[in-house]
């Protein structure tokens, strides 16, 4: 890529001869995109198909043909009745971690971002520097140190031990600060002050509303991050009643790892844990402001 672009930029200025060869080429981008889409979707489609099969069919029927012998319902029943319905509990736990952690961390990041973006007070520069530095710290690698510290105070193995370490995301605070600076005009805040609005009132009814697009994006990023997190619950939790889906499915795989007879349960579990989130995501796609992320990192 280096050689390509550097030579390209060198020649770009003098090389302007007309080259009209698009006729046959316009199909190429579409083809590339279709191949990419197939690569991303086919595994999910295959898991849908595999989930319709009983264990015997899984090993005997053609891989890309669904079975209609009722295997789907058998698998779902087996999954949801496994170990007294613990799978439902895992799904609920994942929702608690991701929604609870997502909302709380968005509030924390939004408040801090607004304060750092719209006010300067003693220490505000230092706090911001600390946060920028913390963006560099790899959160996942902190999971084990976090466990060691919490274990010292006997605070592991509960909901809080999974939620608390994920409440503060330096990157989310950074995004909110940048967004608050750009989207909450000083003039509006000044006008509200002249009208006698308190600082709190200005934050609540002006600032937080103007920051809504950033807050939604931060919430979705945090939601996904927490929902997908594996290592943190893996080290913090050893009571399977508190497992999130990721950890539960992993455990299921470990237990059934040796026995091909259990594969269909795991496959059903994989399907059930993909579908709701995929639907949620695709339907919320409009509200994402990913340009915030790409614009936000020009530190």
């Amino acid at each position: 890529m280096t050689t390509l672009t550097s030579s390209a930029s060198r020649t770009a200025t003098r090389d302007a001869r007309p080259l009209r060869t698009r006729r046959g080429l316009h199909i190429v981008p579409t083809l590339i995109l279709i191949v990419g889409a197939l690569y991303c979707v086919l595994p999910v489609l295959w898991i849908v198909i595999a989930a319709t099969k009983t264990n015997d069919e899984l090993f005997s029927t053609p891989p890309f043909l669904p079975a209609f012998s009722g295997g789907f319902w058998t698998n779902m029943q087996a999954l949801f009745s496994y170990n007294n319905g613990i799978f439902g509990r895992w799904a609920l736990n994942s929702a608690i971690y991701a929604i609870g952690g997502g909302i709380l961390s968005t509030v924390v990041a939004g408040a801090a971002g607004y304060a750092l973006g719209k006010y300067s007070f003693r220490g505000s520069k230092w706090i911001f520097r600390l946060i920028v530095a913390a963006v560099l710290l790899p959160q996942i690698m902190l999971a084990i140190p976090q466990f060691l510290l919490l274990a010292k105070f006997g605070m592991t193995n509960n909901y809080a031990s999974v939620i608390l370490p994920q409440l503060v995301s330096p990157f989310a605070i950074y995004l909110c600060k940048i967004y608050a600076e750009a989207s909450v005009p000083d003039e509006i805040m000044e006008a509200a002050r002249i009208d006698g609005g308190s600082e709190w009132r200005i934050f609540w009814s002006v600032g937080s509303r103007l920051m809504m697009p950033a807050l939604v994006t931060v919430f979705l990023l945090q939601f996904i991050g927490i929902w997908n997190n594996f290592l943190l619950p893996f080290v913090m939790i050893n009571n399977d009643q508190l497992y999130p889906l990721t950890l539960g499915l992993y455990g299921l795989m470990i237990i059934t790892g040796g026995q091909a007879a259990q594969y269909s349960i795991v496959i059903a579990g994989v399907l059930v844990s993909i579908v709701p989130l995929a639907i949620l995501f695709l339907s919320l796609q409009r509200y994402w402001k990913i340009d915030l992320i790409s614009g936000g990192v020009k530190i």
């Binding site: 080429l25 006010y119 220490g123 889906l245």
Partner: protein
């Protein structure tokens, strides 16, 4: 712990705010920023500091179990670091991680860029559908993606020729793990790059078109150099992601014999801390990894900036 308190001092003293330009002594900004600062100190800074402290200690006499009451912790200086750095298995795990990264990161960046440019191509069709489809795996947790691909690789169930191709062989495993990772992140990176392309001023392309540049030339010679900073950022995220490789190999481990319990550095830290109960060595390895990640982050950033600067000239 003393060190933690030292880092607390830059936090604001709650009584005296004020800076001339701003509001007279409102407490609100401090109230708003305090939760974030406290959480950051307690759950990011303190664990990192605690890991450093542990990394200089060792337990003498006895097994040294987690929270074991009567064992004595003694200061051993850099001994734990030397143990880790002298262990060939540590370097081997780092090497395996690098192999996965060398396969996965360039592929992620190449395809994310390719898809982003194709999405922006004038003649492209099915743009909405393909963009959603390529983004879809981002909503699939790494563990679930690994299980999904695990069954795709597994000879007994494979729809992609696992009966013939050994996806879990000693060479194949690197590609298999890298593939799961690429599958998960390529769409997210594509969306970031696509957004970057979309935000470029349109008249640039029109000017190039008037000059007779083809669609391909515009993509390679105008758009690509202009999104170089965004590509740098994507590369940065990918490198950090590669260093934190854990979920995919851990989940594939029950299916693939080629994956050991210390296959990548982070798995080694886990094994040290939870299986071998040697939290002190685990802490030292953790800290080495954190340093490496920060160093890699800074390095990629510097290289990327230099690269971007040269492009804009």
């Amino acid at each position: 712990m003393a060190v933690i308190e030292a880092t607390t001092t830059p936090a604001p003293a709650p009584t005296q705010p004020v800076r001339p330009r701003r509001r007279r002594g409102s407490l609100l900004p401090i109230v708003l920023v305090v939760p974030a600062v406290v959480l950051l100190l307690l759950f990011t800074i303190a664990p990192a500091v605690y890991a450093v402290v542990l990394s200089f200690l060792q337990v003498k006499v006895g097994g040294g179990l987690l929270g074991g009451g009567d064992t004595v912790e003694v200061f051993v200086g850099l001994a734990n670091y030397f143990t880790t750095l002298a262990d060939p298995e540590f370097w081997a795990s780092l090497g395996r991680m690098l192999i996965v990264a060398v396969i996965g990161v360039p592929l992620t960046i190449f395809f994310a860029t390719l898809f982003a440019l194709c999405l922006d191509a004038k003649k492209a069709r099915l743009v909405g559908f393909t963009r959603l489809a390529i983004f879809l795996p981002y909503a699939v947790p790494g563990v679930v993606a690994s299980l999904l691909w695990g069954f795709m690789y597994l000879p007994a169930t494979s729809p992609i020729g696992g009966q013939v191709i050994n996806y879990f062989g000693s060479t194949g495993i690197f590609f298999s793990v890298a593939n799961v990772a690429v599958w998960g992140v390529v769409g997210f990176n594509m969306v970031i790059l696509y957004t970057a392309v979309r935000s470029l001023p349109k008249d640039l392309f029109e000017a190039a078109e008037l000059d007779g540049a083809s669609e391909l030339q515009i993509a390679l010679r105008v758009k690509l150099p202009l999104i170089a900073p965004a590509i740098t950022m994507v590369a940065l995220f990918s490198v950090i992601g590669a260093l934190q490789l854990f979920n995919e190999p851990t989940t594939l481990k029950p299916l693939a014999n080629a994956i050991s319990s210390t296959w990548v550095p982070l798995m080694r830290v886990y094994t040290d801390a939870f299986v071998n109960n040697s939290i002190y060595e685990g802490a030292a390895t953790s800290f080495i990894l954190i340093i490496m990640t920060v160093a890699a982050t800074v390095l990629v950033n510097v290289i990327g900036r230099r690269f971007a600067r040269r492009e804009t000239k």
